[in-house]
């Protein structure tokens, strides 16, 4: 793959932050500093048009990496190239070609209709007025913004606002879009809608997607490749399909049996009575919690057996929390 096919090239990048150990007068008299290495010798590249999930627990180094890629921070060592440019030195030139959406920092004008934010963004990125109008019209359709595009941003729901944020970042047709926790705080319907439009933009326009999230759904549905970071290092870099196959193998099944079933024995005995296949549940607050290893038990078979044995009032099935997978991967990596 030639370098022009790569949207991002990161080579042996580290970032160390230094903080004064003591504050105030003591800090003046004893100017010691504590160094914290947020990113530690990371190397990777991202081909143009790829959708990459860059995930990790809080403090893993995700945001620091995004900030180095967008030109906010300078790496302590190593080199970063985004679209063939050095982000810090060519920040404004690069800004014209990248879009950024920060889930917790709005870039829209709070008291004005969305159209005003779009107009100002187009102006900042020097999109010709007629061209901007065409793009806005297209994005309104694509992101289904028609119903509320004339409403002040402050009146939008979080889901509507996030869709608008992404649309706003795409007005100037960036080659890469950095999405920092775009689905944070959204309900399931809004999350799905947002994931769908990000996928569409990646598929139809070839926009490279660089996404950080704590939500497994974002990764599964949007990204073809997943990179897990922890303590500033890449713990895993894999195709999302492989990650799912190899690591998302446990499902947490929570069952609320009907009251009559529970009444038949003491809570301590529920678990023994509800043993299905090889899965031993935990009994807690009138619930039975099963952790199903899908490599050993097909979920379908497990559920069939479960429903045959236990009269169920309510049931939820969840993936293993991402934090658990990361923890497991990181522990394995250390070992």
């Amino acid at each position: 793959m030639s370098s022009s096919d790569k949207a991002i090239v990161v080579s042996k990048v580290s970032k160390t932050f230094e903080f004064k150990t003591h504050k105030g007068v003591r800090g003046f008299l004893y100017p010691e500093t504590t160094a914290v290495r947020a990113v530690d010798g990371v190397s990777f590249d991202v081909p143009r048009g790829e959708s990459l999930a860059f995930i990790g627990p809080n403090g893993a180094g995700k945001s620091t990496t995004i900030k180095m890629l967008t030109g906010i921070l300078q790496p302590t060592t190593g080199t970063v190239q985004v679209l063939g440019m050095r982000p810090l030195e060519q920040r404004r030139e690069l800004a014209m070609k990248i879009g950024t959406v920060f889930g917790q920092r709005s870039q829209l004008i709070f008291n004005l209709p969305l159209t005003e934010s779009f107009r100002l963004t187009a102006s900042m990125y020097r999109v010709q007025r007629a061209e901007a109008a065409k793009r806005v019209e297209k994005l309104i359709g694509q992101f289904d913004l028609g119903e509320f595009v004339t409403q002040p941003v402050r009146k939008l729901s979080l889901g509507q606002r996030m869709r608008a944020e992404v649309a706003n970042a795409l007005i100037y047709n960036p080659e890469i879009i950095f999405l920092d926790e775009p689905t944070i705080g959204l309900d399931i319907v809004a999350k799905r809608a947002l994931r769908e439009v990000i996928k569409t933009v990646n598929r139809e326009q070839g926009t490279t997607v660089f996404l950080t999230s704590h939500d497994v759904g974002d990764i599964e549905e949007v990204c073809t490749r997943t990179m897990i970071v922890n303590h500033g290092q890449i713990v895993l870099d894999a195709q999302t399909a492989d990650l799912k196959k190899n690591y998302l193998r446990r499902k947490a099944v929570s069952v609320v049996p009907i009251a009559a079933w529970l009444d038949r024995s003491a809570p301590a005995q529920w678990a023994e009575r509800a043993k299905i296949a090889d899965v031993q549940p935990e009994g807690k607050d009138g619930r039975l919690l099963f952790t199903v290893d899908t490599t050993k038990n097909a979920l379908n078979d497990f559920l069939r057996e479960l429903l045959a044995q236990i009269p169920v009032a309510d049931m939820t099935i969840e993936d293993t929390p991402l934090e658990d997978i990361i923890h497991e991967l990181y522990t394995k990596d250390r070992q």
Binding site: R105, E116, R119
Partner: protein, 285 residues
């Protein structure tokens, strides 16, 4: 279907029409003004408060002028017009408030979203402020002269030549640059200080005292006047001296001082900004 790299290369800057950055900054002012115009009540209240304030000061100064020798140095009407100009320019246009915007954005980390836009974040913030306060300032420019004509009559402007007027226009621009650079620099102190408010308060009070908020500069002792006139605070308030005939002999040196302070403070602001960018990690990295 995925876009090919060559297709991707066609996009971005190359495809965008280059327009003047000036237009972008005007668009920022316009958007900010529109955002503020949604709050029409605040605008009307602001103008009303200024009219009442000028009316009260006119009454107080009338008594003061009747019992002092001040009337010999600065006519009563000119003193009031000068104070009104101070209110409109320093308080209502309020460039000094750029400190609050910068301070807030640095402390909350919002600055990181701003610096990755293809425009100068500092100018962006100043334009935002001009848009926010511009409408009220324009309203004051219309309403206050009418109120002053009613309260104290027209000022004596016979001292002013065309060249002097041009010098005042230049001084106004330089005053805006000096104020922007000075208060932006203090705002950027938030990168180093946990609370930059005390520094701002000191500068703000100096601006009020040396700018003529309490007493017109023309009524200060002569030695103090000289000191104040050529200080950055004096330069910031220089446009309000338009109604002071005594200022004319000093107009040339004042323009020079304004140019010198502008150059120095813009340079200082830029240096602080460069250093601040390397500190951005502290605020959210």
């Amino acid at each position: 279907m995925k876009a090919t790299p060559s297709k991707l290369h066609e996009r971005g800057v190359g495809q965008l029409t280059r327009r003047s950055s000036l237009r972008t900054y005007l668009d920022i002012i316009r958007a900010s003004a529109r955002e503020d115009s949604a709050n029409a009540r605040r605008l009307v209240a602001g103008v009303a408060v200024s009219v009442i304030r000028v009316g009260l000061i006119a009454a107080i100064y009338k008594v003061a002028y009747a019992h002092s020798a001040a009337r010999t140095s600065l006519p009563y009407a000119n003193a009031l017009w000068s104070i009104a100009a101070y209110f409109a320019f320093i308080l209502n246009l309020g460039i000094r408030n750029v400190f609050k915007i910068v301070d807030r954005e640095v402390r909350t980390g919002v600055v990181e979203v701003g610096v990755i836009k293809p425009i100068d974040w500092r100018l962006y913030k100043i334009c935002e402020l001009l848009g926010k306060n511009g409408l009220e300032f324009l309203a004051q420019l219309i309403v206050l002269p009418i109120a002053l004509l009613i309260f104290v009559g027209a000022p004596d402007m016979s001292h002013l030549t065309f060249l002097d007027s041009a010098a005042f226009v230049l001084l106004t621009l330089l005053a805006m640059i000096v104020a922007s650079a000075m208060f932006l620099t203090v705002g950027l102190a938030a990168f180093w200080l946990q609370d930059a408010q005390p520094v701002y308060r000191i500068l703000d009070k100096l601006t009020l005292v040396f700018g003529g908020a309490f007493v017109p500069i023309a009524l200060l002792p002569h030695a103090t006047q000289i000191l104040v006139r050529y200080s950055p605070f004096g330069v910031y308030a220089a446009p309000t001296q338009l109604f002071n005939p005594q200022i004319l002999p000093s107009l040339g040196p004042m323009v020079l001082a304004a140019v010198a302070w502008s150059a120095f403070l813009v340079f200082l602001c830029d240096r602080v900004w460069q250093r601040a960018m390397s500190k951005i990690e502290v605020n959210g990295g």
